[in-house]
């Protein structure tokens, strides 16, 4: 591949691709050098302490909940045999298809004081459930846990499935039973994977805008939005975003450090699977019930409720709705093309540049994935806004922010695909008389096709669901499905948000299917 890209050019490409991620980081951190005193003093005194505390509490509870749920379900499915295990093993990934704000809409619409559940309870003469405040910090934590635990579950499963029987046998000859083996061998060995999953959950929680906005919980992301759109202070919004950037960078650093030097690949080609313990009687029933309740709460019941509401509001399905849908598809499609093309360029440049600091530059470009959408929105908008109204009414800011946030999503599969094309193939093709263009077309493209497709699907679906960037950087009146859901939720019209939500969930099932297939492949 080095024949295809020259090193200085490759470094330049990497530098350019890193800009969308570096720009907002620089803009938000630099904003601190010139505080806007009036609004900032108000923020510091009244807003910041509450907002920061809420954000931290949310991260703590969601992290804890996801860890318990993800590791517990992973352990159950990986090491036990019970009725329905095979179905549950992939079905437990389904909640990934439901964006947090959609689940929030369902929860608010059904469980609120005026909602059907509480009303029915009151009419049936049951106890007052006023204490059940869905739209609260606790409610947001539950919703986010139910949508984010699959990250931990997935990584825990891969780690547990890779456990070799030999390790169990070693532990047994050293005097440990199954339980001791899980505690002293399995869990510590899975620690890097669990830490990675937990870090992902924390970053997603820090980045969440939709759930907290729907529940009126003030966190840093909603504070950025309100400061910018409510108080019209871009500078103060940037400063709040700077705080969030520091938090996210700290989480990313912690994740990298906790993984440390050890990645525990068990290299044993004829690796024997760990035997699954067959659950019987009460424990089998308990296993099925626990796993099914999680699945029902996080996926089945919400989807069923959404479908019912959507059915009630089919009258909404006019040409305006078609516009939302087409706009969503258009934005997600063109965005996916842009991001995958950039990821391809990024992959080739990374392979071509070779030297260590170019690789560092390459990693910076994918750092944008850790940045919350609200941060990217203000962070990309503010510097480009200094160009004057030139970009007003265009989608340029939106797409640059998309690129920053989702480059890493596409870079993963693309790099995996490129890794399969080693230098020998290029050289073999060259000795057979194929020029650069012919090699790209006849060797690289066929080998990359499936990786590019996977990358495009993942980005496409992420863009369909994307809310904060689109909401904050769209031209006036530009509505997508996600924005529509947000607006309906803001007006408390929970049931009318169902129609666009169903569409988003349906599209969101695609990558879950891909993921579950890959998980089976590993196992």
């Amino acid at each position: 591949m080095s024949a295809l890209t020259r090193a200085p050019a490759a470094t330049l490409v990497l530098a350019v691709l890193a800009l969308p991620a570096l720009l907002p980081i620089a803009a938000t951190l630099l904003a601190w050098s010139s505080p806007e005193t009036g609004i900032w003093a108000h923020q510091l005194q009244y807003v910041l302490p509450r907002v920061a505390l809420n954000t931290l509490l949310l991260v703590f509870w969601v992290g804890l909940g996801s860890l318990l749920l993800g590791v517990g379900l992973g352990w159950l499915v990986a090491f036990h045999e019970f009725p329905g295990r095979r179905v549950l093993s992939w079905a437990l990934l389904l909640p990934l298809a439901v964006p947090g704000y959609v689940l929030a809409v369902v929860a608010a619409g059904t469980l609120d004081y005026a909602g059907p559940v509480q009303s029915w309870f009151r009419s049936a003469g049951g106890p007052d459930l006023r204490w059940l405040q869905v739209r609260s910090l606790g409610g947001a934590a539950v919703i986010l846990t139910l949508t984010l635990y699959p990250y931990v579950y997935m990584l825990a499963r891969v780690a547990f499935d890779n456990a070799s029987r030999t390790m169990l046998e070693v532990a047994m000859t050293l005097g440990e039973d199954q339980r001791g083996h899980f505690r002293r061998v399995m869990l510590p060995m899975a620690r890097p994977a669990l830490a990675a999953g937990l870090a992902l959950v924390c970053m997603e929680t820090l980045a969440d805008f939709g759930v907290v906005a729907a529940f009126n919980v003030d966190t840093l992301t909603t504070a950025i939005y309100r400061t910018w759109y409510g108080l019209f202070s871009l500078q103060a919004a940037l400063q709040l975003a700077g705080l969030l950037v520091l938090g996210v960078l700290a989480a990313a650093w912690l994740e990298r450090r906790s993984r440390g030097r050890e990645t525990y690949a068990v290299t044993r080609p004829e690796r024997e699977r760990m035997p699954r313990r067959r659950l019987k009687g009460f424990s089998a029933v308990a296993a099925v019930v626990v796993a099914s309740v999680v699945l029902a709460l996080a996926f089945l019941l919400p989807v069923w409720q959404l479908s019912a509401w959507a059915w009630q509001h089919t009258a909404d399905l006019d040409s305006r709705y078609l516009d939302f849908a087409l706009r969503s598809l258009g934005v997600a499609g063109s965005g996916a093309l842009l991001v995958v093309a950039a990821a391809l360029l990024h992959g080739y440049a990374l392979a071509g540049a070779g030297h260590a600091w170019a690789r560092g530059l390459g990693r910076l470009a994918t750092l944008g994935y850790a940045l919350p959408g609200a941060v990217l929105a203000v962070g990309v908008f503010a510097p480009l806004n200094t160009l004057g109204g030139l970009l007003q009414g265009t989608l340029v800011v939106m797409f640059i922010a998309y690129l920053a946030r989702f480059l890493a999503v596409a870079a993963g599969p693309v790099e995996g695909g490129l890794a399969r094309i080693h230098g020998g193939l290029d050289e073999a093709a060259a000795t057979l008389g194929a020029g650069v263009a012919a090699r790209l077309r006849r060797v690289h493209l066929p080998l990359l096709r499936s990786s590019l497709l996977v990358a495009a699907i993942l980005v496409f679906v992420d863009l369909m669901k994307e809310l904060p960037i689109t909401l904050m950087t769209r031209p006036f009146g530009f509505e997508t499905l996600a924005v529509r859901i947000f607006e309906m939720a803001a007006e408390g019209e929970w049931t009318r948000a169902a129609l666009p939500a169903v569409m988003i969930v349906l599209v969101g099932l695609l990558p879950v299917y891909l993921l579950s297939r890959r998980l089976d492949h590993v196992a």
């Binding site: 390790m167 046998e169 047994m172 000859t173 050293l174 440990e176 039973d177 620690r191 050890e262």
Partner: protein
């Protein structure tokens, strides 16, 4: 007997992996199980360790029944150490942590002291903090050994401990291991497919063929008094020449008269005589001549493949200063007190 394996049988999907295996080790003895791959060596170890259950037979250690009809003491309650073939070190623990793993019932300082001591004994005093990925194959093997020895097992089992190590390193480790085991008085059973390792290490060797014990004896017995053609051919190099017995213990062969092994029952009629390469000696003065058809230089000696007048071939080890060309005829004679015979095979 310290370890007793009696009529042990283990079946996998109807096929017998172990078929009535029977042997024992006295306290402090080192036994080796030798045999081609897939013969049941590893299954034997796993049954003794308690990782597999027996279908029939008994396994006893220090007189205690570990496996038998309706009895299966689980592996973690047997107190038997096992060194796995690929070492199977815990990747998340350093060398010290690996060795300390089985010592959890000891207080921390005692644990640390014992693990450090063991790692010193295997020559890894300076690698206590190294993680498995940072250790060479030989070092990993020693950590695995120290880990298995740490809880003071009543019996140490080793599954191909020297596989995947280069030859020079292996020879050194085999020597070191033998010394370490003997000094600590450990009773051990080692599975290997390398006869040289077994010869160096073992007090007793068990040769296993298709789940059955083909022979159990000292290394000397296995080499010089094999009880079957399989044993004769698997252990050491072997060639066979036909001979005729007269029933008095003297055999007539192409290479002259031979005396039968006094331990064996006298045969009569046609038999095949086992000749080891060191039984056939090069002697320029001998009237017996054989033609060299193949030669391989081994440093200190040549291994010649010789063709006799009858067209039969025998092997001969000759000091390497006797450098003869292929095709040359050289004088040979037999240098053996007694020979082992087998019934003729067509």
């Amino acid at each position: 007997m310290w370890l007793e394996v009696k009529a042990a049988t283990r079946r996998f999907e109807g096929r017998a992996a172990l078929d009535g295996l029977h042997f024992g080790l006295a306290e402090g003895e080192i036994g080796c199980l030798l045999g081609p791959s897939g013969c049941g060596k590893t299954t034997t170890l796993r049954c003794i360790a308690g990782l597999e259950t027996l279908d029939q037979g008994h396994i006893l250690c220090r007189g205690e029944l570990l496996s038998g009809p309706g009895v299966h003491r689980p592996a973690h309650q047997r107190g038997i150490g096992l060194v796995f073939q690929d070492h199977a070190l815990f990747p998340h623990l350093n060398a010290l942590g690996n060795v300390e793993f089985g010592l959890s019932q000891l207080p921390a300082t005692e644990r640390r002291r014992r693990a450090t001591d063991l790692l010193e004994r295997v020559g890894l005093a300076d690698r206590l903090d190294a993680f498995p990925g940072q250790l060479s194959g030989g070092q990993q093997q020693r950590v695995a050994l120290a880990r298995a020895l740490a809880p003071g097992p009543s019996l140490l089992l080793m599954d191909e401990p020297f596989a995947n190590l280069d030859v020079a390193l292996r020879e050194r480790l085999v020597g070191e291991l033998g010394e370490l085991l003997r000094r600590s008085g450990t009773t051990a059973l080692v599975v290997t497919h390398e006869q040289q390792d077994a010869f160096t290490l073992a007090d007793r060797i068990g040769l296993i063929q298709e789940g059955r014990l083909a022979q159990w004896g000292t290394p000397y017995d296995l080499y010089h008094r094999p009880t079957s053609r399989f044993a004769a051919e698997f252990v050491g190099r072997a060639s066979f020449i036909p001979a005729c017995c007269d029933g008095s213990g003297v055999l007539q062969s192409e290479l002259g008269p031979l005396r039968e092994d006094p331990h064996s029952t006298h045969c009569s009629g046609p038999v095949d005589v086992l000749l080891r390469p060191d039984d056939v000696v090069h002697d320029d003065d001998s009237p017996l001549k054989a033609r060299i058809v193949e030669r391989s230089f081994r440093g200190a000696e040549f291994l010649y493949t010789l063709e006799l007048a009858s067209g039969r071939r025998v092997l001969s080890v000759v000091p390497s200063h006797h450098d003869h060309r292929v095709g040359e005829a050289i004088g040979i004679r037999l240098d053996t007190d007694h020979v082992i015979t087998f019934p003729t095979t067509g």
